[in-house]
């Protein structure tokens, strides 16, 4: 009987230690990789993100995203098409995508993917590239460097890959991406996707229904005033 309680105690102690370790380590792992060596200019800080929708939309949504994150991919492919059709294209919502690449220990290719989007944005293809990355998300499950996959996706959405290659090699958007991640940190983001609707962080699981409900209530409240 004593041996039984010793075993129970050991298992309980190991379980508690593991859970405490997880709660302390994982949010850090889910935070963006902070690199103080990346120079950030005022222009980097001023970059608003990739915008979809009208400036006059009454509801502004900011999404902090990691392109390697499977939940972001699921949100982008399952929920976002409805949001785009019913809220963004109808002028109710403006969507702003901000980079929040998680640490390489969590998602090895997030920074590369964020750079791939930034380089596509030079040619006005940011959202096309974002859609391509999420629609063909198998790359996130591969261990190998996905640069050639990204190049193929860029080409498929009409990006000039010679210019895109030069941009990607230069890593010229590292500061802009880091500035975006820093802004996420300062707003309390610790995982992706994280949505802010008219400045308020959404703590529930992001779904098109939830965004629609919040957007509708905000629009109704605006009309009452």
């Amino acid at each position: 009987m004593n041996r039984f309680y010793v075993l129970l105690g050991v298992v309980a102690a190991a379980a508690v230690a593991f859970l405490i370790y997880s709660t302390q380590q994982e949010p850090g792992g889910a935070a963006a990789a902070s690199n103080p060596n990346v120079p950030i200019t005022a222009q980097d800080r001023a970059f608003p993100g990739y915008i979809l929708g009208s400036d006059s939309a009454p509801v502004k949504v900011v999404e902090f995203v990691d392109y390697e994150c499977p939940i972001c991919a699921m949100f982008a492919t399952v929920q976002f098409p409805t949001i785009r059709d019913q809220l963004i294209n109808t002028g109710k919502v403006q969507w702003r995508l901000r980079d929040y690449p998680l640490a390489p220990t969590t998602h090895e290719w997030s920074h590369l993917a964020a750079n791939a989007v930034a380089c596509a944005s030079e040619q006005g293809k940011a959202w096309d590239m974002v859609d391509a990355l999420f629609d063909h998300h198998d790359w996130a499950l591969q261990k190998s460097n996905p640069t050639s996959v990204f190049r193929g996706l860029a080409q498929s959405v009409g990006v000039n890959t010679t210019t895109w290659d030069a941009c990607l090699s230069s890593n010229k958007y590292a500061g802009r991406i880091q500035a975006s991640a820093n802004e996420g940190d300062s707003l309390g983001v610790n995982g992706t996707p994280t949505l802010f609707i008219n400045g308020t962080m959404v703590r529930d699981r992001a779904t098109s229904d939830l965004v629609q409900r919040i957007a509708d209530s905000l629009i109704a409240a605006t009309k009452k005033k």
Binding site: L8, V11, A14, A15, T23, E26
Partner: protein, 140 residues
Amino acid sequence: MSRHRQAIAVLALVGIAVATYLWLHAIGVIGVLKCGSGGCEIVQASKYAELFGIPVAFYGVVGYATLFGLGLAGAQPALVPRAWPTRWLAVLSGVGFLFTLYLTALEMFVIHAWCRWCLASAAIITAIFVTALAGLPRKT
């Protein structure tokens, strides 16, 4: 009979840890699951990760806690000769086993992604069920 209940208590304790880990992730306390692939996050982000608005993992925490309490109580000297704790352990773990079969089928046929922590839980509840069945009194 006591040995079976002790084994179930230990297994259920491990199950509590696994289910709590998944539940803490579901309620946002843990950011990213250590999974080795994206499967855990895909499964946890699916609509099947909740039942009646409550994370499925929470049902696991409650279920394993019940099995742990019953196993521990049944291993006490006063209850060792009684058969009912093992019968209840077999019934409850059987329900958990069937529910786990359903969840595993969802992973395989609907979600098309494997969550290793869910599979670990499936292995634990299967082991508990088998142990409980093995501990049932036999007619001579």
